[in-house]
Amino acid sequence: MLPIEFYFDAAIKGLLTGSVYAMLAVGLSIIFGVMRVVNFAHGEMLVAGMFGAYLVFVTLGLDPILAIPIVALVMFLFGVALQRGLIDRFITAPEHQQFLVLIGVALILTNGLDMIFGPDARNVQVPYAFASFEVGPFFLDNVRVYSAIAALALIALLYLFFNHTLTGKAIRACADNNRGAQVVGLNVSRLYAITFGIGAACAGAAGCLLIMVIDVTPHLGADFTLLAFTIVIIGGLGSMTGALLGGLLIGVSEAMAGILIQPSLKSSFSFGLLILVLLLRPNGLLGKRSS
């Protein structure tokens, strides 16, 4: 039996990793909350963000955390263009058509990245890649601490945007009552484009944070789509706080599972948690009750 401190240590590591997961999931949640579209290419957008951070690092030598504004802006524009050019036509289409469109986008992104960057894993070597803080008998690595702080800061920024700016409030109005928003004269199509852009930017920003933790290959996307999807459902689709809570919960539960059971079983823990949440609170822990 391991001493009790190990559980604390694992929990803290889980929280740190979970914050980055949350950053990723928030994007998915915002898109769904406003547009009722599940972005099945979300993980692929994250991978695009990781490659973006890699490119910025190689060309400008910029730390991935500082690259966030650049990558997020590019991903925002990409998201807006994608929504305007393609997804807008499928807003009211049946779910399976939206699903196919986004699967198509995911295929194009993955294999496009493969053709551009090749299949080899790429990574960004920040000066503090191997450093860690010593806390009592344990070590918390700088990379994870910094990326968790950045993730939480970005989520706070998004929160401010949605609660204290006109555009943010207008987007929330769209989410709450689409018809009503149109009636009062909001340009819903434009707001949707901005929303999708923000969602993509979130994935891009999460990519900047994640590239410091793991190396990127073009084929990572699908797993992260599933991860983000799981987090968002646990937290409640469409709820930002829910996504944050879900991310932290998945991070901690995976870490705990790594100690309590054989680590290779740990993602069954997440799926088990997901099934439980779906059954007991089908709209997620913090989701709205109406369906």
């Binding site: 393609l86 699903f99 295929l107 299949p119 290779s264």
Partner: protein, 341 residues
Amino acid sequence: MRSLFEGVPARAAWGLVCVIVLLYLAPLVFGGYVLSVLILCCYLAVLGQAWNVMMGFAGQLSLGHALYIGLGAYASGALFFHFGLGPWIGLIPAFIVAGAMGALIGWLGFRFGIRGVYFALLTIAFAEFVRILFDHWGWIGGSSGMFLLVQNRNIDMDAASIANAFWTLRGPNWVFYYVILTGMVACLVTVRLLMRTRVGYYWLAIREDQEAAQAMGINVLRYKLLAVVISAMMTAFGGVFYAFYNNTLYPESIFSIDRSIELLLGVIIGGIGTLFGPILGAFALTWLGEGLSITQEWFDIAGLKLLTYGVAMLAIILFRPAGLWPWLRRLLGMEERRPDA
């Protein structure tokens, strides 16, 4: 036969019969590569038809159908591996296990009012959960896989050997081809007949408006469950076929979410909620993929195939959102006189 072809224009009926006859004659002309692609087409058509029962007719989105393929494959494969029981006997436990799992997921989902993308995620979660469990289950080989013994695939051409090859599913490719082609036709007939019974009409009613269907006194839960169970069993047939055709089972590959997605792309491309959509979609996408493979070798750019595949899918969904079959049917003047099915 009457109800099978009722309402179908004569030319459509004859066209269908001709296509099926041609498919049955294919092994006389083609061998090797073409036959194995045709096997893949029919296999995906069976899975697509199964998925279509659940999504297209009963309106339940499943993104975890690989679960039923895997359960079917492992149920029959393990019986063969450990006890030497053949595929047709293995089909019974495969149906039972997959049907029970379908019933469980369906019951949990419907009982707790989980719909749409939430239901879809529930199906993914179950598939992934079972994948990880199978990865750690030593009796069926865990993640290092289960190998079914491959016997000599060249058989004598006398009646007894041929019958034996069909019974044991150990034989040359054309044996597998006839099995899966017949399976595809059987699924088509089954679904067609089902759609013309009360059950079929109830499904359509539920798909269109669940509340209204309920108000009319349809036991929504029961009929939705029935759709899931039938779909799971049809998929499990595909799984049994896969086990004996492929002979190598790895949980990582057979339960993978890619497999769940692969089988439904053809249905959406072909035309969801139609009888021939899944078949047309499976054939169209499989041959498109093969053509693109050859192009990729030509240009020698890895990834080109799947990229183009994605673009083609987007193009089809953009210009034919309802799928290829409804459009082709109109083009050929083969629309049914009755508006349903």
